[in-house]
């Protein structure tokens, strides 16, 4: 009995979710007249998880870009950070017969086969942010963390006039973005007299960064700047410094990466961070590329996104491309 009940509950929940989704879609499509001629296209988008704000932003960017094209309908799926779920989602899209799949994979290897199968079924696939193995995909769109780290390093050198003591609050160092943002940064500060006097793995988490910064502050009377592998880390370091109550947050410069509108960019606007470097989501570029593919144009196999820096001077103008 309880088994049936749970099935009914799940079915009801699913029905609710679907009806909400449909309701929203209808209200947007009826509002805009179909100015663009041509067929209607359905795009399936599988996001590896919506727990990270950056990925929420990616979906928002896709949604905003797709809203400009009334002939596009995008179906969103959230794999909740589970690879098997994402594998199933790709297959579901294939069975559903969507016109194109956008996937931001959780892991490369296990998703290579489902993506290749979709390609074999004549459904083009755009891979976003993280790669899949081999070449059985239509287009890969991603940013270059090494370049972003390097730009941050070069910026730091300029900011401190070539020498100083800094704290590096790293992202999860067993992940590629963490390693690349570190390696790029080291490349950027090479040849200068900037010393990393304290570093710690903060797992991308703000509370961890806050704790590590406390330790750094109690150990070193002189800290010139903090390099956070993401904006929450840099922000956490700022808060730790402010909460220390010695006013050192006015001397120390904080730099972060990601530039989400509601995080890094806002912190720069409020004068908390000196700079944040954008790690673009590629959401808009994915829709642009999808349209080209659907209209029969050829697209580049690998599209590397550029980065932007946001500082107090340019933040109101939307940052400066690097």
């Amino acid at each position: 009995m309880s088994k049936y009940r749970s099935i009914i509950v799940i079915a009801l929940a699913a029905a609710c979710a679907l009806s909400v989704g449909c309701g929203k879609k209808e209200s947007t499509t009826t509002g805009t007249s179909t100015t663009e001629t041509g067929k209607k296209f359905v795009i399936g988008m599988s996001q590896c998880n919506l727990g990270e704000p950056w990925r929420v932003q990616m979906n928002a960017d896709v949604k905003a870009a797709a809203a400009a094209h009334p002939n596009l309908e995008v179906l969103y799926k959230d794999a909740q950070n589970k690879t098997p779920v994402q594998q199933a989602q790709v297959k579901e899209f294939v069975e559903q017969g969507v016109n194109l799949i956008i996937i931001s994979p959780k892991e490369a290897l296990p998703l290579t086969k489902p993506v290749a199968e979709a390609m074999a079924a004549n459904i083009p696939v755009i891979v976003l942010d993280r790669k899949v193995e081999g070449d059985k995909y239509t287009s890969f769109i991603g940013a270059d963390n090494v370049k972003i780290g390097k730009e941050a390093g070069k910026f730091m050198v300029k900011l401190l006039g070539g020498k100083g003591s800094i704290v590096e609050l790293k992202g999860l160092m067993t992940s590629t973005p963490g390693q690349e943002r570190h390696n790029g940064f080291m490349e950027g500060i090479k040849g200068s007299q900037i010393k990393i006097i304290f570093d710690a793995d903060c797992h991308w988490l703000e509370p961890d960064a806050q704790r590590e910064m406390n330790s750094a502050l109690s150990r070193f009377p002189q800290i010139d700047a903090v390099y956070g592998h993401n904006d929450p880390s840099a922000h956490g370091a700022y808060l730790a410094t402010k909460q220390e109550g010695k006013g050192r947050e006015k001397q120390i410069k904080f730099i972060g990466i990601d530039s989400l509108p509601n995080e890094g960019v806002r912190y720069v606007k409020e004068g908390i961070l000196t700079a944040t470097f954008q790690y673009p989501t590629g959401g808009k570029e994915a829709i642009d590329t999808a349209l080209k593919i659907l209209n029969g144009e050829t697209v580049e196999k690998n599209i590397v996104l550029g980065t932007k820096v946001f500082t107090k001077e340019n933040v109101d103008k939307g940052g400066a491309p690097l």
Partner: protein
């Protein structure tokens, strides 16, 4: 005359029990000495940084949230239960509180009351399902853990609640003064209100557990629920009470988290329940219930806080950190275990 030997063994037992209490303190002192020995020194004065008042305050401040969670968790564990939902309730409360203050512009005091009540309601649901419907605490709180996380994401729309996050938010720039107040030292002591909440709360509940009827009931229920029932204790009400307090305290920890990060993060508190349980167990409270106490938990929180501080202040690599942490937890529990023999 024949009573004397009995009395002696009683005294002996009592003495051993006191020693058992001391063991936790000895372990804590050992950790502090370790910290002092390995601490980097201040360049100017040569004094170990670990022993500065600032570092001590940092530790209490950083572990206040865990401490508040562990306080509630102790009540539940003493009564033979477990609450896996506290981490998610923390996240839910952080989101709700920030939404009320930043989003709707409520006065902070009202928001605190509403948020703590919301946490207590989650606890009440846990307690009611467990005691009335005889469901396993592990299963029930696992379910509320998932659901509370869902609720946090739902009310926030999946994004962190910060000033200017949505165009309709009441606060568009800056940080609500109440957040800053909670994290700024009061009266020149440099001790933050969040730290005070943790300390006052746990001291209060040390007394509650030791000297009130409710506290004694928790031990009785955890020791033998059936016997407690037969002796006239209204087991269900006491259990619901323990879970409600646990939920309310998780909400309090959520408010602290929100103020400390100046953001309501719906993902906040992930796996915190494990840290809270670890603190309780390292302190020496039995996971089987009925044995232990709130003072032990205070020791447990401090041991974890000190160990983490030592590793962090010495800039120990991540891999070694995890290894050392695991080893020390086992060591601490071993020390605790021996007193039971």
């Amino acid at each position: 005359m024949s009573e004397k030997p009995v009395e002696r063994t009683d005294n002996l037992k009592r003495g051993l029990a006191a020693l058992g209490n001391l063991r936790g303190i000895i372990a804590l002192v050992a950790v502090i000495i370790l910290g002092a020995l390995f601490s980097p020194k201040n360049v100017a004065t040569g004094w170990p940084i670990f022993l500065t008042a600032q570092t001590q305050k940092d530790i209490l401040f950083e572990y206040a949230e865990y401490g508040i969670l562990a306080t509630g968790m102790t009540l539940v564990i003493l009564a033979g239960g477990i609450d896996l939902s506290v981490g998610s309730v923390l996240g839910f409360a952080a989101t709700l509180f920030s939404l009320l203050v930043i989003g709707f512009g409520w006065p902070p005091f009202v928001a605190v009351v509403v948020t703590v009540l919301a946490g207590a309601v989650v606890g009440m649901i846990n307690g009611a399902l467990i005691s009335r419907f005889k469901m396993q605490p592990f299963v029930v709180t696992l379910a509320t853990m998932v659901a509370a996380r869902g609720a946090a994401k739902w009310i926030s729309g999946g994004i962190k609640v910060a000033p200017g996050g949505q165009s309709w938010y009441h606060v568009q720039t800056g940080t609500p003064p109440f957040f800053s107040w909670l994290t700024t030292g009061v009266g020149g002591t440099g001790i933050q209100p969040i730290t005070l909440i943790f300390i006052v709360n746990i001291l209060l509940f040390i007394l509650v557990v030791r000297y009130t009827k409710f506290g004694r009931h928790l031990y009785a229920i955890g020791g033998n629920e059936e016997a407690a029932r037969l002796s006239g204790i209204r087991v269900a009400w006491d259990k619901i009470g323990a879970y409600m307090l646990c939920g309310g305290m998780a909400a309090l920890a959520g408010i602290s988290n929100c103020a400390r990060l100046e953001i309501g993060d719906p993902e906040a508190g992930g796996t915190y329940e494990l840290d809270a349980i670890a603190a309780v167990v390292i302190g020496g409270t039995s996971l089987n219930g009925g044995r232990g106490g709130m003072f032990f938990t205070l020791i447990g929180v401090l041991i974890i806080g000190y160990i983490n501080k030592i590793l962090s202040i010495n800039n120990v690599e991540e891999a070694q950190r995890l290894l050392v942490k695991g080893a020390i937890i086992i060591l601490a529990v071993l020390i605790q275990q021996r007193k039971r023999e």
